[in-house]
């Protein structure tokens, strides 16, 4: 008898806890903020400045790469397309696709990880973002980079990850020209950031010294984590 009533009260407590869970939902952001500064410090400290080991080309998983977009696929006129690089730079740039094509090309075979939980090994080809930023001569005061996309998507990054040797502006995917659904003509890719940091259809890059806390990124402004390092 006693045993049964104990079990019942245990089950009852479980039920209460899960109901309480819903009431607890709004508290989540506070819990996250308590531990996030330490988490981010540890992440930035651990994060490789040396390259992340890559996969083999035959390990790519084309079917696993799902397409996410917050606002459909934008129409981009490729004839007069150019990438703007401005902000805290000595030499602001307007780079056409042919100019970008003349920079050193690199392929990385990495795991693309989505915040939703799925992941896919992808071979991305393109130019190093570091080379593009070097053309523009970034000011020593700079600390952040903002990316604008043709569909209105917005992102901001720490300069350190932007300059990482495996952070690319991709124009190729799995050995073929980048499909429009995956961000053509230009998208970001890096083994070091979650998928929502990897903007598609990029049209402009702004180099910044500080971040506007109300304009961190399309999903970040809804509550998703800003650093989102992998």
């Amino acid at each position: 008898m006693k045993r049964r009533s104990l079990l019942q009260s245990a089950l009852g407590t479980g039920g209460l806890l899960s109901l309480g869970g819903c009431a607890l939902n709004p508290l989540g952001q506070e819990v996250a903020q308590l531990t996030r500064p330490l988490n981010e410090r540890i992440e930035a400290w651990m994060q490789a400045t040396t390259p992340v080991p890559e996969f083999k080309r035959n390990q790519v998983e084309p079917a696993a790469l799902l397409v996410n977009s917050f606002n459909g696929i934008p129409e981009i006129n490729l004839d007069n397309f150019s990438l703007t690089v401005d902000g805290l730079v000595q030499q602001p740039q307007q780079l056409g696709l042919s100019t970008l094509g003349q920079l050193p090309q690199q392929e990385i075979v990495i795991r693309h990880v989505c915040v939703e939980g799925w992941a896919a090994i992808v071979a991305w080809g393109g130019v190093r973002l570091a080379d593009v930023l070097r053309l523009a001569e970034v000011s020593p005061l700079a600390g952040y980079v903002a990316f604008e996309s043709a569909d209105g998507y917005f992102e901001t990054w720490d300069l350190r990850t932007a300059l990482h040797p495996q952070t690319l502006l991709a124009t190729q995917m799995n050995g073929a020209p980048l499909p429009v659904a995956n961000g053509a003509p230009l998208r970001l890719t890096s083994p070091l950031k979650l998928g929502y940091k990897l903007s598609k259809w990029i049209t402009a890059i702004h180099v910044l010294d500080t971040l506007n806390p109300h304009r961190l990124g399309t999903w970040e402004d809804q509550g998703y984590e800003w650093y989102a390092g992998l």
Binding site: C22, Q29, V31, R36, A48, P53, E116, G223, L230
Partner: protein, 189 residues
């Protein structure tokens, strides 16, 4: 009254903290699950919201990653303290022998009991490792490499919830069988 406290204060405290944190980790994990179910992907069946914590994906991640450090600290210090001062209470090879060789039912039950709660600590350590492997797959690439494909890694991490569910149930029932409410009191207050 005093003599009822067979378990030192630290193990009682960590036992309780671990239990509470586990509820938070499991329910926020199940919230994350719903953004893209491990089984079935976008077409997969979501977990009922009764069992989830956070309300939406970012909310689930606030809790899961907000609590993970505390969870790791509690589990880690409990393991260290147990191995240092209560090693004789943890399961070991000899318990498996007792299980197969001893004719004494009570002895056998105690052996199962020890194996069971020690196994829970192992499963939770694995949850921590598979969790870290998915949290920082690039920085901790060597760790992520231990667990095979991404899907295998996800299944292993998710398995913590059903496996712990069964083990906790067995642990509670067996504790009650072995020592009833008296034993429960020695670990709770």
């Amino acid at each position: 009254m005093e003599s009822q406290h067979h378990h030192p204060l630290w193990t009682r405290t960590l036992h309780a903290c671990n239990g509470a944190l586990l509820i938070g980790m499991a329910s926020s994990g199940l919230q994350i699950y719903n953004a893209n179910p491990v089984f079935g992907g976008r077409a997969g069946e979501p977990i009922p919201s009764l069992f989830t914590l956070g309300g939406w994906l970012a909310g689930g991640r606030w809790w899961h990653f907000g609590l993970m450090g505390v969870f790791a600290f509690v589990l880690g210090s409990w393991l260290l303290l147990l191995m240092q001062w209560r090693r004789q209470r943890l399961g070991r090879g000899g318990d498996l022998e007792t299980l197969s060789a001893s004719a004494n039912a009570k002895k056998r039950n105690y052996a199962i009991h020890k194996i069971l709660y020690t196994l829970m600590l192992v499963v939770l350590s694995l949850a921590l490792l598979t969790g870290l492997a998915m949290y920082k797959p690039a920085t901790l690439w060597w760790l992520s490499g231990w667990f095979g494909s991404w899907q295998q890694l996800r299944v292993l991490h998710f398995a913590t919830v059903p496996v712990m569910g069964v083990l906790v149930l067995g642990h509670v029932l067996l504790s009650l069988k072995l020592g009833g409410l008296r034993l429960l009191r020695t670990i709770s207050w």
